[in-house]
Subunit: 210 residues, 2 copies
Amino acid sequence: MLYVYICLMSLRHALMALLAATPMTGYTLAKQFDQSAAFVWHAPHSQIYPELRRLEEAGLIAGHEESRGIRGTKRTYAITDEGRAELQRWVAELSPPPRERDGAYLKATYFEFGSFANARRQFQAHLAHHRQQQRQWEAHVEQLENRDTSLLRLRLAAWPEHLHDAIVAYKAHVYRGLVTRARSEVEWARSGLDLVDRLEAAAGAQDASG
Amino acid sequence: MLYVYICLMSLRHALMALLAATPMTGYTLAKQFDQSAAFVWHAPHSQIYPELRRLEEAGLIAGHEESRGIRGTKRTYAITDEGRAELQRWVAELSPPPRERDGAYLKATYFEFGSFANARRQFQAHLAHHRQQQRQWEAHVEQLENRDTSLLRLRLAAWPEHLHDAIVAYKAHVYRGLVTRARSEVEWARSGLDLVDRLEAAAGAQDASG
DNA sequence: ACAGCCATGTAAGTCGTTACATGATTGC
DNA sequence: GCAATCATGTAACGACTTACATGGCTGT
Protein backbone atom coordinates (compact mmCIF):
# COMPACT_ATOMS: atom_id res chain seq x y z
CA MET A 1 0.00 0.00 0.00
CA LEU A 2 1.64 3.14 -1.21
CA TYR A 3 -0.10 6.19 0.09
CA VAL A 4 2.02 9.21 -0.59
CA TYR A 5 0.82 12.74 -0.36
CA ILE A 6 2.77 14.57 -3.02
CA CYS A 7 3.56 17.40 -0.72
CA LEU A 8 0.62 19.63 -0.09
CA MET A 9 2.39 19.91 3.19
CA SER A 10 3.71 23.45 2.86
CA LEU A 11 3.67 24.05 6.60
CA ARG A 12 6.92 22.15 6.96
CA HIS A 13 8.65 24.30 4.39
CA ALA A 14 7.13 27.51 5.67
CA LEU A 15 8.63 26.74 9.07
CA MET A 16 12.03 25.91 7.62
CA ALA A 17 11.99 29.05 5.49
CA LEU A 18 11.33 31.16 8.56
CA LEU A 19 14.07 29.40 10.52
CA ALA A 20 16.45 30.00 7.62
CA ALA A 21 16.28 33.69 8.53
CA THR A 22 17.05 33.18 12.20
CA PRO A 23 16.60 30.64 15.02
CA MET A 24 13.26 30.96 16.80
CA THR A 25 10.98 29.31 19.34
CA GLY A 26 7.68 27.68 18.42
CA TYR A 27 5.88 30.58 20.02
CA THR A 28 7.65 33.13 17.87
CA LEU A 29 7.00 31.05 14.77
CA ALA A 30 3.32 30.80 15.68
CA LYS A 31 3.13 34.57 15.95
CA GLN A 32 4.50 34.90 12.43
CA PHE A 33 1.71 32.66 11.23
CA ASP A 34 -1.39 33.88 12.93
CA GLN A 35 -0.76 37.18 14.63
CA SER A 36 1.08 38.96 11.89
CA ALA A 37 -1.10 39.23 8.82
CA ALA A 38 2.09 39.30 6.85
CA PHE A 39 2.32 35.61 6.22
CA VAL A 40 1.03 33.70 3.24
CA TRP A 41 0.36 30.51 5.13
CA HIS A 42 -1.82 30.28 8.20
CA ALA A 43 -1.21 27.74 10.98
CA PRO A 44 -2.21 27.56 14.67
CA HIS A 45 0.33 26.73 17.36
CA SER A 46 -1.30 23.34 17.89
CA GLN A 47 -0.10 22.40 14.44
CA ILE A 48 3.28 24.06 14.74
CA TYR A 49 4.68 22.48 17.91
CA PRO A 50 4.23 18.86 16.79
CA GLU A 51 5.53 19.69 13.32
CA LEU A 52 8.68 21.20 14.82
CA ARG A 53 9.29 17.98 16.74
CA ARG A 54 8.87 15.97 13.54
CA LEU A 55 11.24 18.26 11.64
CA GLU A 56 13.78 17.91 14.38
CA GLU A 57 13.46 14.14 14.36
CA ALA A 58 14.02 14.24 10.59
CA GLY A 59 17.20 16.26 11.15
CA LEU A 60 15.93 19.22 9.12
CA ILE A 61 16.03 21.55 12.09
CA ALA A 62 17.85 21.39 15.43
CA GLY A 63 16.30 22.46 18.71
CA HIS A 64 17.97 23.22 21.98
CA GLU A 65 16.53 24.02 25.35
CA GLU A 66 17.27 27.45 26.77
CA SER A 67 16.50 28.82 30.19
CA ARG A 68 14.00 31.62 30.55
CA GLY A 69 14.11 33.36 33.94
CA ILE A 70 14.65 31.08 36.93
CA ARG A 71 12.51 28.00 36.37
CA GLY A 72 11.26 28.62 32.84
CA THR A 73 12.65 27.04 29.69
CA LYS A 74 12.11 27.50 26.00
CA ARG A 75 13.17 25.53 22.97
CA THR A 76 14.85 27.42 20.17
CA TYR A 77 15.06 25.82 16.74
CA ALA A 78 17.62 26.47 14.02
CA ILE A 79 17.70 25.13 10.50
CA THR A 80 20.36 22.52 9.69
CA ASP A 81 22.35 21.98 6.50
CA GLU A 82 19.97 19.16 5.65
CA GLY A 83 17.08 21.53 6.17
CA ARG A 84 18.63 24.06 3.84
CA ALA A 85 19.12 21.34 1.24
CA GLU A 86 15.47 20.32 1.61
CA LEU A 87 14.40 23.93 1.13
CA GLN A 88 16.39 24.04 -2.09
CA ARG A 89 14.80 20.81 -3.28
CA TRP A 90 11.35 22.15 -2.46
CA VAL A 91 11.89 25.46 -4.25
CA ALA A 92 13.04 23.58 -7.36
CA GLU A 93 10.05 21.26 -7.35
CA LEU A 94 6.93 22.02 -9.38
CA SER A 95 3.88 21.65 -7.12
CA PRO A 96 0.52 20.64 -8.53
CA PRO A 97 -1.85 23.60 -8.74
CA PRO A 98 -4.29 23.86 -5.84
CA ARG A 99 -7.81 22.57 -6.24
CA GLU A 100 -10.56 25.08 -6.77
CA ARG A 101 -12.35 25.48 -3.48
CA ASP A 102 -13.88 28.81 -2.62
CA GLY A 103 -16.75 28.98 -0.17
CA ALA A 104 -17.68 32.59 -0.87
CA TYR A 105 -17.91 32.07 -4.62
CA LEU A 106 -19.78 28.82 -4.15
CA LYS A 107 -22.35 30.58 -2.03
CA ALA A 108 -22.63 33.51 -4.43
CA THR A 109 -23.43 31.03 -7.20
CA TYR A 110 -26.64 30.24 -5.36
CA PHE A 111 -27.76 33.65 -4.10
CA GLU A 112 -31.15 33.03 -5.69
CA PHE A 113 -31.92 30.91 -2.62
CA GLY A 114 -31.82 34.08 -0.54
CA SER A 115 -33.13 37.61 -0.73
CA PHE A 116 -31.59 40.61 -2.48
CA ALA A 117 -30.88 42.02 0.98
CA ASN A 118 -28.93 38.90 1.82
CA ALA A 119 -26.90 38.99 -1.40
CA ARG A 120 -26.04 42.59 -0.57
CA ARG A 121 -25.01 41.67 2.96
CA GLN A 122 -22.76 38.87 1.67
CA PHE A 123 -21.08 41.08 -0.92
CA GLN A 124 -20.59 43.81 1.68
CA ALA A 125 -18.89 41.40 4.07
CA HIS A 126 -16.67 40.17 1.24
CA LEU A 127 -15.80 43.73 0.35
CA ALA A 128 -15.01 44.74 3.92
CA HIS A 129 -12.78 41.73 4.50
CA HIS A 130 -10.74 42.11 1.35
CA ARG A 131 -10.43 45.87 1.69
CA GLN A 132 -8.83 45.28 5.07
CA GLN A 133 -6.63 42.54 3.64
CA GLN A 134 -5.61 44.88 0.85
CA ARG A 135 -4.49 47.51 3.34
CA GLN A 136 -2.50 44.99 5.34
CA TRP A 137 -0.72 43.63 2.26
CA GLU A 138 -0.04 47.16 1.03
CA ALA A 139 1.50 48.07 4.34
CA HIS A 140 3.65 44.96 4.22
CA VAL A 141 4.84 45.70 0.67
CA GLU A 142 5.96 49.10 1.83
CA GLN A 143 7.78 47.62 4.81
CA LEU A 144 9.50 45.11 2.57
CA GLU A 145 10.57 47.75 0.06
CA ASN A 146 12.02 49.83 2.89
CA ARG A 147 13.64 46.65 4.25
CA ASP A 148 11.87 47.59 7.43
CA THR A 149 10.90 44.26 8.99
CA SER A 150 13.10 42.64 11.58
CA LEU A 151 12.83 39.22 9.99
CA LEU A 152 13.87 40.52 6.59
CA ARG A 153 16.87 42.29 8.06
CA LEU A 154 17.93 39.10 9.78
CA ARG A 155 17.43 37.19 6.56
CA LEU A 156 19.51 39.64 4.54
CA ALA A 157 22.30 39.44 7.10
CA ALA A 158 22.55 35.71 6.33
CA TRP A 159 23.19 36.24 2.60
CA PRO A 160 25.92 37.97 0.54
CA GLU A 161 25.02 41.53 -0.32
CA HIS A 162 24.77 41.10 -4.08
CA LEU A 163 21.71 38.87 -3.50
CA HIS A 164 19.83 41.30 -1.26
CA ASP A 165 17.92 42.97 -4.09
CA ALA A 166 16.62 39.64 -5.37
CA ILE A 167 15.58 38.47 -1.89
CA VAL A 168 13.58 41.64 -1.32
CA ALA A 169 12.21 41.68 -4.86
CA TYR A 170 10.76 38.15 -4.69
CA LYS A 171 8.98 38.92 -1.44
CA ALA A 172 7.68 42.27 -2.62
CA HIS A 173 6.43 40.61 -5.79
CA VAL A 174 4.47 38.06 -3.77
CA TYR A 175 2.84 40.63 -1.52
CA ARG A 176 2.10 42.94 -4.45
CA GLY A 177 0.34 39.96 -5.99
CA LEU A 178 -1.72 39.61 -2.84
CA VAL A 179 -2.59 43.31 -2.97
CA THR A 180 -3.81 42.85 -6.54
CA ARG A 181 -5.80 39.81 -5.52
CA ALA A 182 -7.45 41.64 -2.64
CA ARG A 183 -8.20 44.59 -4.89
CA SER A 184 -9.92 42.42 -7.44
CA GLU A 185 -11.98 40.72 -4.73
CA VAL A 186 -13.07 44.18 -3.60
CA GLU A 187 -13.96 45.05 -7.17
CA TRP A 188 -15.84 41.75 -7.57
CA ALA A 189 -17.91 42.47 -4.47
CA ARG A 190 -18.56 46.05 -5.57
CA SER A 191 -19.83 44.99 -8.97
CA GLY A 192 -21.83 42.30 -7.20
CA LEU A 193 -23.59 45.04 -5.24
CA ASP A 194 -24.32 46.85 -8.49
CA LEU A 195 -25.70 43.65 -9.92
CA VAL A 196 -28.05 43.21 -6.97
CA ASP A 197 -29.28 46.80 -7.42
CA ARG A 198 -30.03 46.15 -11.09
CA LEU A 199 -31.76 42.86 -10.35
CA GLU A 200 -33.90 44.40 -7.64
CA ALA A 201 -34.84 47.32 -9.85
CA ALA A 202 -35.82 44.90 -12.61
CA ALA A 203 -37.90 42.86 -10.16
CA GLY A 204 -39.62 46.04 -8.94
CA ALA A 205 -40.42 47.16 -12.49
CA GLN A 206 -41.92 43.76 -13.18
CA ASP A 207 -44.12 43.97 -10.08
CA ALA A 208 -45.37 47.40 -11.15
CA SER A 209 -46.18 46.33 -14.70
CA GLY A 210 -47.53 42.85 -13.84
CA MET B 1 -16.21 18.94 24.88
CA LEU B 2 -17.78 21.01 22.19
CA TYR B 3 -15.96 20.58 18.94
CA VAL B 4 -17.95 22.23 16.23
CA TYR B 5 -16.55 23.09 12.86
CA ILE B 6 -18.31 26.29 11.97
CA CYS B 7 -19.04 25.00 8.55
CA LEU B 8 -16.02 24.93 6.36
CA MET B 9 -17.92 21.94 5.07
CA SER B 10 -19.13 23.41 1.82
CA LEU B 11 -19.18 20.03 0.10
CA ARG B 12 -22.51 19.25 1.73
CA HIS B 13 -24.09 22.43 0.41
CA ALA B 14 -22.48 22.12 -2.99
CA LEU B 15 -24.11 18.71 -3.33
CA MET B 16 -27.50 19.97 -2.20
CA ALA B 17 -27.28 22.96 -4.53
CA LEU B 18 -26.63 20.64 -7.47
CA LEU B 19 -29.48 18.35 -6.44
CA ALA B 20 -31.75 21.39 -6.21
CA ALA B 21 -31.48 21.64 -9.98
CA THR B 22 -32.37 18.02 -10.66
CA PRO B 23 -32.09 14.56 -9.06
CA MET B 24 -28.80 12.82 -9.81
CA THR B 25 -26.66 9.82 -8.93
CA GLY B 26 -23.41 10.05 -7.02
CA TYR B 27 -21.55 9.31 -10.21
CA THR B 28 -23.13 12.22 -12.04
CA LEU B 29 -22.48 14.52 -9.10
CA ALA B 30 -18.85 13.43 -9.05
CA LYS B 31 -18.53 14.32 -12.71
CA GLN B 32 -19.80 17.81 -11.99
CA PHE B 33 -17.06 18.18 -9.41
CA ASP B 34 -13.94 16.83 -11.01
CA GLN B 35 -14.54 16.22 -14.70
CA SER B 36 -16.23 19.45 -15.59
CA ALA B 37 -13.92 22.35 -14.90
CA ALA B 38 -17.04 24.40 -14.41
CA PHE B 39 -17.39 23.85 -10.73
CA VAL B 40 -16.07 26.07 -7.96
CA TRP B 41 -15.57 23.27 -5.49
CA HIS B 42 -13.49 20.18 -6.11
CA ALA B 43 -14.27 16.81 -4.58
CA PRO B 44 -13.37 13.22 -5.49
CA HIS B 45 -16.02 10.49 -5.60
CA SER B 46 -14.54 8.88 -2.50
CA GLN B 47 -15.69 11.92 -0.59
CA ILE B 48 -19.01 12.29 -2.35
CA TYR B 49 -20.57 8.84 -1.85
CA PRO B 50 -20.24 8.79 1.96
CA GLU B 51 -21.39 12.41 2.18
CA LEU B 52 -24.53 11.56 0.20
CA ARG B 53 -25.31 8.79 2.67
CA ARG B 54 -24.87 11.20 5.55
CA LEU B 55 -27.09 13.81 3.89
CA GLU B 56 -29.74 11.17 3.34
CA GLU B 57 -29.53 10.04 6.94
CA ALA B 58 -30.00 13.68 7.97
CA GLY B 59 -33.10 13.89 5.80
CA LEU B 60 -31.68 16.68 3.63
CA ILE B 61 -31.77 14.55 0.51
CA ALA B 62 -33.70 11.41 -0.40
CA GLY B 63 -32.22 8.55 -2.39
CA HIS B 64 -33.95 5.74 -4.14
CA GLU B 65 -32.56 2.68 -5.86
CA GLU B 66 -33.23 2.40 -9.58
CA SER B 67 -32.49 -0.49 -11.88
CA ARG B 68 -29.93 -0.04 -14.58
CA GLY B 69 -30.05 -2.72 -17.29
CA ILE B 70 -30.76 -6.27 -16.04
CA ARG B 71 -28.70 -6.74 -12.89
CA GLY B 72 -27.32 -3.22 -12.38
CA THR B 73 -28.69 -0.68 -9.95
CA LYS B 74 -28.04 2.96 -9.27
CA ARG B 75 -29.08 5.28 -6.52
CA THR B 76 -30.62 8.60 -7.50
CA TYR B 77 -30.80 11.39 -4.97
CA ALA B 78 -33.24 14.26 -4.82
CA ILE B 79 -33.28 17.22 -2.47
CA THR B 80 -36.00 17.31 0.18
CA ASP B 81 -37.89 20.27 1.60
CA GLU B 82 -35.63 20.12 4.62
CA GLY B 83 -32.65 20.23 2.29
CA ARG B 84 -34.03 23.28 0.55
CA ALA B 85 -34.55 24.94 3.92
CA GLU B 86 -30.96 24.13 4.88
CA LEU B 87 -29.74 25.65 1.60
CA GLN B 88 -31.62 28.82 2.43
CA ARG B 89 -30.12 28.90 5.92
CA TRP B 90 -26.64 28.39 4.47
CA VAL B 91 -27.01 31.12 1.86
CA ALA B 92 -28.14 33.56 4.55
CA GLU B 93 -25.24 32.73 6.86
CA LEU B 94 -22.02 34.76 6.86
CA SER B 95 -19.08 32.37 6.59
CA PRO B 96 -15.73 33.26 8.08
CA PRO B 97 -13.23 34.26 5.39
CA PRO B 98 -10.87 31.48 4.35
CA ARG B 99 -7.39 31.31 5.80
CA GLU B 100 -4.54 32.48 3.66
CA ARG B 101 -2.84 29.38 2.33
CA ASP B 102 -1.21 29.52 -1.06
CA GLY B 103 1.60 27.13 -1.90
CA ALA B 104 2.70 28.87 -5.09
CA TYR B 105 3.02 32.28 -3.43
CA LEU B 106 4.73 30.76 -0.42
CA LYS B 107 7.32 29.17 -2.68
CA ALA B 108 7.78 32.34 -4.72
CA THR B 109 8.55 34.18 -1.50
CA TYR B 110 11.69 32.07 -1.21
CA PHE B 111 12.90 31.86 -4.81
CA GLU B 112 16.29 33.06 -3.63
CA PHE B 113 16.91 29.47 -2.53
CA GLY B 114 16.86 28.44 -6.20
CA SER B 115 18.34 29.64 -9.46
CA PHE B 116 16.98 32.28 -11.82
CA ALA B 117 16.20 29.46 -14.24
CA ASN B 118 14.09 27.79 -11.58
CA ALA B 119 12.17 30.95 -10.74
CA ARG B 120 11.42 31.30 -14.44
CA ARG B 121 10.25 27.70 -14.67
CA GLN B 122 7.94 28.16 -11.69
CA PHE B 123 6.43 31.37 -13.04
CA GLN B 124 5.97 29.75 -16.45
CA ALA B 125 4.10 26.81 -14.94
CA HIS B 126 1.92 29.21 -12.97
CA LEU B 127 1.21 31.19 -16.11
CA ALA B 128 0.36 28.13 -18.20
CA HIS B 129 -2.00 26.75 -15.57
CA HIS B 130 -3.93 29.93 -15.03
CA ARG B 131 -4.11 30.78 -18.71
CA GLN B 132 -5.83 27.45 -19.23
CA GLN B 133 -8.10 28.08 -16.25
CA GLN B 134 -8.93 31.48 -17.66
CA ARG B 135 -10.02 29.97 -20.96
CA GLN B 136 -12.18 27.37 -19.22
CA TRP B 137 -13.91 29.94 -17.04
CA GLU B 138 -14.41 32.22 -20.05
CA ALA B 139 -16.03 29.41 -21.98
CA HIS B 140 -18.29 28.68 -19.04
CA VAL B 141 -19.34 32.31 -18.69
CA GLU B 142 -20.36 32.29 -22.33
CA GLN B 143 -22.32 29.08 -21.88
CA LEU B 144 -24.08 30.53 -18.86
CA GLU B 145 -24.96 33.76 -20.63
CA ASN B 146 -26.41 31.76 -23.51
CA ARG B 147 -28.19 29.54 -20.97
CA ASP B 148 -26.48 26.74 -22.78
CA THR B 149 -25.69 24.20 -20.05
CA SER B 150 -28.03 21.33 -19.36
CA LEU B 151 -27.84 21.79 -15.60
CA LEU B 152 -28.73 25.47 -15.86
CA ARG B 153 -31.72 24.72 -18.07
CA LEU B 154 -32.94 22.16 -15.57
CA ARG B 155 -32.43 24.63 -12.77
CA LEU B 156 -34.35 27.39 -14.54
CA ALA B 157 -37.21 24.99 -15.19
CA ALA B 158 -37.59 24.61 -11.43
CA TRP B 159 -38.09 28.35 -10.83
CA PRO B 160 -40.70 30.92 -11.94
CA GLU B 161 -39.63 32.79 -15.03
CA HIS B 162 -39.27 36.22 -13.47
CA LEU B 163 -36.34 34.88 -11.43
CA HIS B 164 -34.41 33.42 -14.37
CA ASP B 165 -32.35 36.53 -15.03
CA ALA B 166 -31.16 36.68 -11.44
CA ILE B 167 -30.28 32.99 -11.35
CA VAL B 168 -28.17 33.32 -14.48
CA ALA B 169 -26.69 36.64 -13.40
CA TYR B 170 -25.38 35.35 -10.06
CA LYS B 171 -23.68 32.43 -11.73
CA ALA B 172 -22.21 34.52 -14.52
CA HIS B 173 -20.94 36.99 -11.93
CA VAL B 174 -19.14 34.21 -10.07
CA TYR B 175 -17.48 32.79 -13.16
CA ARG B 176 -16.55 36.24 -14.44
CA GLY B 177 -14.87 36.74 -11.07
CA LEU B 178 -12.92 33.54 -11.63
CA VAL B 179 -11.89 34.76 -15.09
CA THR B 180 -10.59 37.96 -13.54
CA ARG B 181 -8.76 35.99 -10.90
CA ALA B 182 -7.13 33.74 -13.45
CA ARG B 183 -6.18 36.74 -15.55
CA SER B 184 -4.48 38.44 -12.64
CA GLU B 185 -2.59 35.25 -11.81
CA VAL B 186 -1.39 35.18 -15.41
CA GLU B 187 -0.35 38.80 -15.10
CA TRP B 188 1.41 38.10 -11.81
CA ALA B 189 3.40 35.30 -13.38
CA ARG B 190 4.23 37.40 -16.42
CA SER B 191 5.56 40.26 -14.34
CA GLY B 192 7.40 37.66 -12.26
CA LEU B 193 9.21 36.57 -15.41
CA ASP B 194 10.10 40.19 -16.14
CA LEU B 195 11.40 40.52 -12.60
CA VAL B 196 13.66 37.49 -13.02
CA ASP B 197 15.02 38.96 -16.25
CA ARG B 198 15.86 42.20 -14.51
CA LEU B 199 17.44 40.45 -11.55
CA GLU B 200 19.53 38.24 -13.77
CA ALA B 201 20.69 41.19 -15.87
CA ALA B 202 21.66 43.05 -12.71
CA ALA B 203 23.57 40.01 -11.44
CA GLY B 204 25.38 39.71 -14.79
CA ALA B 205 26.33 43.39 -14.78
CA GLN B 206 27.73 42.98 -11.29
CA ASP B 207 29.82 39.98 -12.37
CA ALA B 208 31.23 41.96 -15.28
CA SER B 209 32.14 44.99 -13.19
CA GLY B 210 33.29 43.06 -10.08
C1' DA C 1 -2.35 40.40 43.50
C1' DC C 2 -3.44 40.42 38.92
C1' DA C 3 -3.38 41.00 34.03
C1' DG C 4 -1.18 40.07 29.99
C1' DC C 5 2.10 37.93 27.58
C1' DC C 6 5.55 34.05 26.85
C1' DA C 7 5.77 29.29 26.17
C1' DT C 8 4.34 24.46 25.13
C1' DG C 9 1.74 21.09 24.67
C1' DT C 10 -2.59 17.21 24.11
C1' DA C 11 -7.18 15.49 22.49
C1' DA C 12 -10.81 14.65 19.49
C1' DG C 13 -12.77 15.42 15.54
C1' DT C 14 -13.56 16.82 10.48
C1' DC C 15 -11.88 17.32 5.89
C1' DG C 16 -9.47 15.92 1.94
C1' DT C 17 -6.13 12.86 -0.47
C1' DT C 18 -4.45 8.72 -2.78
C1' DA C 19 -4.88 4.09 -3.42
C1' DC C 20 -7.40 -0.18 -3.40
C1' DA C 21 -11.55 -2.68 -4.97
C1' DT C 22 -15.52 -4.41 -7.52
C1' DG C 23 -18.89 -5.12 -10.93
C1' DA C 24 -22.46 -3.92 -14.60
C1' DT C 25 -23.58 -1.75 -19.09
C1' DT C 26 -22.92 -0.13 -23.76
C1' DG C 27 -21.09 -0.01 -28.18
C1' DC C 28 -17.96 -1.78 -31.45
C1' DG D 1 -14.36 -10.44 -26.80
C1' DC D 2 -12.80 -5.92 -25.29
C1' DA D 3 -12.58 -1.17 -24.08
C1' DA D 4 -14.75 2.67 -22.29
C1' DT D 5 -17.85 4.30 -19.31
C1' DC D 6 -21.31 3.93 -15.56
C1' DA D 7 -21.64 3.05 -10.87
C1' DT D 8 -20.36 2.55 -5.86
C1' DG D 9 -17.86 1.84 -2.44
C1' DT D 10 -13.63 1.13 1.58
C1' DA D 11 -9.01 2.02 3.78
C1' DA D 12 -5.29 4.56 5.45
C1' DC D 13 -3.33 8.59 6.12
C1' DG D 14 -2.14 13.42 6.27
C1' DA D 15 -3.79 18.10 7.17
C1' DC D 16 -6.31 21.34 9.74
C1' DT D 17 -9.60 22.87 13.38
C1' DT D 18 -11.37 23.81 17.92
C1' DA D 19 -11.11 23.13 22.53
C1' DC D 20 -8.76 21.74 26.68
C1' DA D 21 -4.67 22.37 29.65
C1' DT D 22 -0.67 24.02 32.12
C1' DG D 23 2.70 27.00 33.94
C1' DG D 24 6.34 30.71 34.10
C1' DC D 25 7.66 35.62 33.46
C1' DT D 26 7.00 40.83 33.56
C1' DG D 27 5.26 45.02 34.85
C1' DT D 28 1.98 47.64 37.61
